[in-house]
């Protein structure tokens, strides 16, 4: 298959988004595990941090779920991301990757103290690192606007027909000769 753009045009924010989203999922499940362990075994700090991890894991997944618009080419949106996308585009600071990286980092710090949420928060923090790099590259989040009509290659090109054009009998006969 043909290759894709080199480093100079890589949009790191897209990878940061994947990392932070997966980290948020792991954090959410870690929060659930923390709650289970805290309730059944009364492990130290599992219950409060578990609840905290669950809530912020869910919030972060909501924020990360809508994919940002790629600067070059067509962006493949996630399944049903439009409602999340409209919500996120109304929020004040999240389009700036610096703020996003900083907020996620601070939010994840308390979850480092118990083991179940440790992995999820480390993953989100790595996502923060990538977002920080993306912000340093001048990237930011912008919503994917759905295309209202299919793109045309030129002004005069018409829709491709569903049926082939009618041909004189000798040609149709020859094509499907047995």
């Amino acid at each position: 298959m043909p290759s894709q753009p080199v480093k100079r045009s890589i949009q790191w924010g897209i990878w940061g988004n994947e990392t932070a989203l997966l980290g948020a999922y792991v954090l959410t499940i870690g929060g659930v595990i923390g709650i289970v362990g805290g309730v059944t075994q009364n492990f130290l700090f599992w219950l409060p941090i578990g609840i905290y991890g669950l809530i912020f894991g869910i919030l972060m997944s909501f924020l990360e779920y809508p994919r940002g618009k790629k600067s070059k080419g067509n962006t493949v949106s996630r399944w049903h991301q439009s409602c999340f996308s409209s919500m996120v585009s109304k929020l004040p600071v999240v389009s700036n990757y610096y703020y996003r990286a900083f907020i996620y980092f601070v939010v994840c710090l308390p979850t480092l103290i118990i083991v179940p949420t440790f992995l999820g928060s480390v993953c989100v923090m790595i996502g923060c690192g990538i977002y920080f790099g993306a912000a340093a590259h001048g990237e930011s989040w912008s919503p994917v606007v759905p295309r209202l009509q299919p793109q045309r290659t030129g002004g005069n090109v018409s829709e491709p027909p569903a049926q082939p054009p009618p041909r004189l009998p000798q040609h149709t006969g020859a094509r499907y000769a047995t």
Binding site: M1, Q4, P5, T19, Q41, L44, P160
Partner: protein
């Protein structure tokens, strides 16, 4: 009934492999769960850890299996040799080998799932180990179990059960345990590999995927030493003899005096290396082969610029021989020392050079065309000493190799996906020059689906020559071409087409067979082929977009029956 033979030919082998793989995973999970949950030597371990012990060890067994299997589908040389050796096997066996990347991904998903279960179960285990130090022992409410846990934890020296030797913070305990910090490194490598393997990242920023995926070296390196400290421990058989577990577990205050001498524990031997060592060696051999091929000299004979940003490179490498439709990996040290990109060969085996047609789409391909001197305006030619050095790895086999084994073949290529068929058609041409050797392949229905007019000038020439030769040898019915332009035409083109409607040759391609407009009606086409060739095995070969692949797969299943079987083969890298 007609669908059944299609399903048997195209779906059964895949599902059989899937079933076997799933069965192995389930078996290992259940077996090792029961192993750790019921055996007497882990009785005391279970006192400390509860069901979390078995819940952590069972996915570990599945992880061993999948870490072993995940490397095998990427050993392309091994697969190609296996495919070659399997030429006498039924086609169904070889079709399964084409799904290698899908299987690799399946094993990877299972690794992720099992890693999560393993990690979350071990979260409990770590806290079970550390919480023993926090239970007050002298109050009236201290239970027998708490006293027992404390006694077990106190056992020191080499006979210990609890690897945590003092009151530490749980997260700190993770880094004290060898299994803990190696586990963190392994899981983070896995995490990075997974996030960059998402389809969007692979297609848009291939380099991110390629470089990050090499973290598998870190993954396997630390996986092999993950269990080296033997921190999962069970009672020794000798200790089980002289320490009555049922009685002594109820009376921890009697320890260490008889009848309850202190139990002695030993660690389980690390098992993972036994599972993964063979595939690791096989993969290392693959990379060594690639390195050896890297050092071999490749001579660039010609670079041809075709319209629509396609560059053809004709090369020669001593000792290199490829079958029809195979592909190679190309690397150019001048551009990048680490990137190898796959391309299908467009030359026939009968030619004394090998060629690839590269479409210039992204950074690496544009840089390559610049390095080859193909980005200039005029037809200037770079002298061979100025040509950049390139390395070729391969050839690797794919489905198209099998075309000659079918009596009838339907070959469909969309856009640049036509390249494997360029190799095939040229080979047919060469084989035809030698009329003594009769081909098993009697009829080829060739379909090329292009979005626009400009996409096929380089191919058009070849088709015209082939058509001419077939007419000369009286075999014009061997290949039937159907070219479809799907994106329509503009007003000027429509006029030209109308005017030349009656011409003997098609105005766009110059071929005798006319170009069609719009999309093919596959139901009609498959039905006609089934009627024309009753009781035959028809090979359907496709290279191109996924949507069309599903359509053709569906058609192959739908129209098989009454003796006709459509075998669906899809090209993939």
């Amino acid at each position: 009934m007609s669908r059944l033979s299609g399903l048997l030919a195209n779906e059964l082998p895949k599902y059989l492999v899937l079933l076997i793989w799933l069965g192995l995973n389930v078996f290992l999970f259940v077996y090792y769960y029961l192993f750790y949950d019921t055996r007497p030597e882990f009785f005391y371990t279970r006192i400390l850890l509860g069901p979390a012990l078995a819940l952590a060890r069972a996915p570990a067994a599945c992880l061993n299996l999948n870490c072993m299997l995940v490397l095998l589908p990427i050993c392309r040389n091994l697969l190609s040799r296996f495919r070659r050796a399997c030429m006498c096997c039924p086609r169904r066996v070889r079709v399964v080998l084409d799904k290698n990347i899908k299987f690799h991904r399946l094993c990877a998903y299972m690794i992720v799932l099992m890693t999560l279960i393993h990690y979350y179960a071990h979260c409990f285990n770590v806290d079970f180990f550390t919480s023993v130090y926090r239970v007050p022992l002298n109050s009236r409410n201290t239970t027998t179990v708490s006293k027992l846990r404390w006694r077990l934890t106190q056992i020191g020296g080499n006979n210990y059960l609890n690897p945590i030797r003092s009151d530490v913070w749980s997260v700190g305990a993770v880094f004290l345990l060898t299994g803990g910090w190696t586990g963190v490194i392994i899981t983070l490598s896995l995490f990075f590999m997974v996030t960059s393997s998402v389809e969007l990242i692979r297609r848009s920023y291939f380099e991110v995927f390629w470089y990050t995926h090499h973290l598998f070296v870190v993954f396997y390196g630390f996986l092999v030493v993950h269990g080296i400290s033997r921190q999962v421990r069970g009672q020794t058989p000798a200790s089980l003899q002289n320490h009555n577990v049922t009685f002594c577990s109820q009376h921890p205050d009697l320890w260490p005096n008889p009848p309850c001498p202190l139990p002695v524990f030993q660690g389980s031997e690390p098992m993972t290396w036994k599972w993964v060592i063979a595939p690791m060696i096989l993969y290392v051999i693959e990379r060594i082969i690639r390195f050896v091929r890297f050092t071999q000299h490749v001579e660039i004979l010609k670079v041809i610029k075709h319209p629509s940003r396609v560059v053809e490179i004709q090369m020669r490498k001593s000792g290199f021989f490829a079958e029809v439709g195979q592909y190679v990996f190309i690397m150019c040290p001048k551009l990048s020392n680490l990137e190898w990109h796959p391309f299908t060969l467009t030359s026939a085996p009968e030619e004394n050079y090998c060629s690839v047609h590269i479409r210039i789409v992204g950074g690496w391909t544009s840089d390559l065309s610049k390095a080859l001197g193909a980005d200039g305006e005029g037809p200037e030619v770079l002298p061979s000493w100025k040509m950049p050095r390139i390395a070729v790895d391969g050839p690797f086999g794919t489905a198209s190799e099998d075309v000659f084994t079918y009596p009838v073949a339907i070959c469909v290529g969309s856009g640049i996906g036509v390249t494997p068929f360029a190799s095939l058609l040229k080979s047919v041409w060469y084989k035809n020059l030698n009329p003594e050797k009769e081909l098993a392949l009697k009829k080829v229905y060739f379909f090329w689906i292009c979005p626009e007019v400009h996409a096929f000038e380089w191919f058009g020439d070849m088709l015209t020559h082939l058509e001419q030769q077939l007419i000369e040898t009286g075999q014009q019915n061997l290949i039937e071409y159907n070219i479809y332009l799907t994106r329509g035409w503009d007003a000027k083109q429509a006029k030209t087409i109308m005017v030349h409607e009656e011409d003997e040759r098609d105005v766009i391609t110059g071929l005798e067979q006319k170009t069609n407009y719009g999309r093919p009606n596959w139901d009609d086409i498959f039905m006609k082929v089934a009627q024309t060739h009753p009781s035959t095995h028809v090979g359907v070969f496709f290279c191109g977009v996924a949507a069309l692949s599903h359509e053709l797969h569906r058609m192959s299943n739908k129209h098989s029956g009454n003796g006709v079987v459509f075998h669906y083969n899809k090209e993939n890298f």
